[in-house]
């Protein structure tokens, strides 16, 4: 199975990629990924003659590389076959063209890319692709990603080790969304099983005080998890971290800034 993922450097696109990586068990075979970055053409042909096509090509290349870099980081160490494509033109049309040319079975994309206005229901590129693509499109809404994936990692997992790996990956992914200087509250709600320990010693953050609080919160939650709503059906769960953004910060984003290592003790 071959999946095309449109990457424009936005959090939404990374979220879509993260979703696929986090739900590989949905697919019967390890899917082959095609990452595509479409760069809009630089405006007038006159600028082209002025700057020279080499400079143009350089700009396209640099910006596409920049957009793809976080995706590569996310994929580092994953046993995935990945092909990358960098093209210049109209995004929706080129995403569809690449998917059909490469014989992809599925296009995966975020609903709000780089140029989307936040209060529109979805970005114009996502809409254009969904409306015109002969290849089915899986749209992943970014704001739901962290919570959905984390619930998934704790909730649906039969195997503790896999669950840990998935939680870890999720943390690695969300970690990049943290901006230096920002403060976050991080909560882990742990089920009252002792299969999993969170090694809080390896948390890193630019704001130590905040993280210290979060660490205590994590430990506190661990102790009274039985009283936490939703924990009654967590008996067979390994862990269910719930990440919450700082109060007053954009509520659409559920993020963590902490690096955490999970150890299996069984």
């Amino acid at each position: 199975m071959k999946v095309l993922i449109a990457i424009d450097g936005s959090e939404s696109a990374l979220g879509a990629l993260g979703y696929v990586l986090d739900h590989q068990d949905f697919f019967s075979t390890n899917p082959e990924l095609v990452l595509i970055n479409v760069h809009l053409p630089l405006p007038p042909p006159r600028a082209n003659s002025l700057l020279g096509s080499e400079t143009y090509a350089q700009i396209y290349k640099e910006e596409s590389e920049e957009a793809l870099a976080p995706a590569r980081e996310l994929l580092a160490g994953m046993p995935c076959r990945v092909v990358e494509r960098q093209v210049v033109g109209q995004p929706a049309a080129l995403i569809i063209a690449a998917a059909t040319q490469e014989g992809c079975d599925l296009i995966v994309m975020g609903t709000h890319g780089r140029n989307a206005l936040a209060n529109l229901p979805m970005g114009s590129v996502a809409m254009g692709v969904i409306a015109a693509s002969p290849v089915p499109v899986l749209s992943v809404k970014y704001e739901s990603l962290a919570t959905a994936a984390l619930t998934q990692s704790g909730g649906q997992c039969k195997n503790i080790r896999a669950s840990c790996q998935r939680i870890e990956r999720m943390l690695q992914f969300t970690e990049r969304l943290w901006v230096q200087g920002e403060q976050w509250n991080v909560n882990f709600n742990l089920a009252p099983t002792s299969h999993v320990q969170i090694d809080t010693g390896s948390w890193r953050s630019g704001s130590v005080g905040e993280c210290g609080d979060a660490r205590q919160a994590a430990i506190a939650d661990h102790h009274d998890a039985s009283g936490t709503p939703g924990c009654d059906h967590m008996a067979h769960f390994a862990a269910r971290p719930v990440c919450q953004s700082r109060a007053g910060k954009n509520k659409n984003h559920a993020l963590v800034c902490a690096k955490s290592t999970l150890h299996c003790t069984t």
Partner: protein
């Protein structure tokens, strides 16, 4: 793995169902299907009082069976675990609510349902579900 498929009796919805059935090898385990048909509520409370709720329920039931019939035909003889649900309400909201309540991993739907204008890029229900659903949406043209 559990998939919700929105069925409104349109060609587009059937194509979405057919896509899932034809591509079951994509999914690791044989997916469990939840077919949901959403019927808009009969407009005024007065109509309800006038006709009586039995007649209205009957009307909903008939429409439900009619919308489901082609989907059921498509599923006949297939080894799938299928449940179907009839919901009365606003389509997009009801589809999202059903998906979250049933713990579905994915919503599958056609981009042009029953009341979509053919010339629009996509139907209003598909657009609203994609925009508002916390569950990822697979749209099939």
């Amino acid at each position: 793995m559990k998939l919700l498929i929105a069925i409104d009796g349109s060609e587009s919805a059937l194509r979405a169902l057919a896509y899932v059935l034809e591509h079951k090898e994509f999914f690791s385990a044989n997916p469990e299907l939840v077919l949901v048909n959403v019927h808009l509520p009969v407009p005024s409370a007065r109509a309800k009082a006038f006709l009586g709720s039995e007649i209205i329920d009957q009307y909903y039931k008939e429409d439900f069976d009619e919308a489901m019939a082609p989907a059921r035909a498509l599923l006949a003889g297939k080894s799938c675990q299928v449940t179907d649900r009839s919901v009365i309400g606003q389509p997009a909201d009801s589809i999202i609510a059903a998906a979250t309540q049933d713990g579905c991993d994915l919503i599958v739907m056609g981009t042009h349902g029953r009341s979509a204008l053919g010339t629009l890029l996509m139907g209003s229900v598909a657009m609203r579900v994609i925009a508002a659903s916390p569950v990822p949406v697979l749209s099939v043209k």
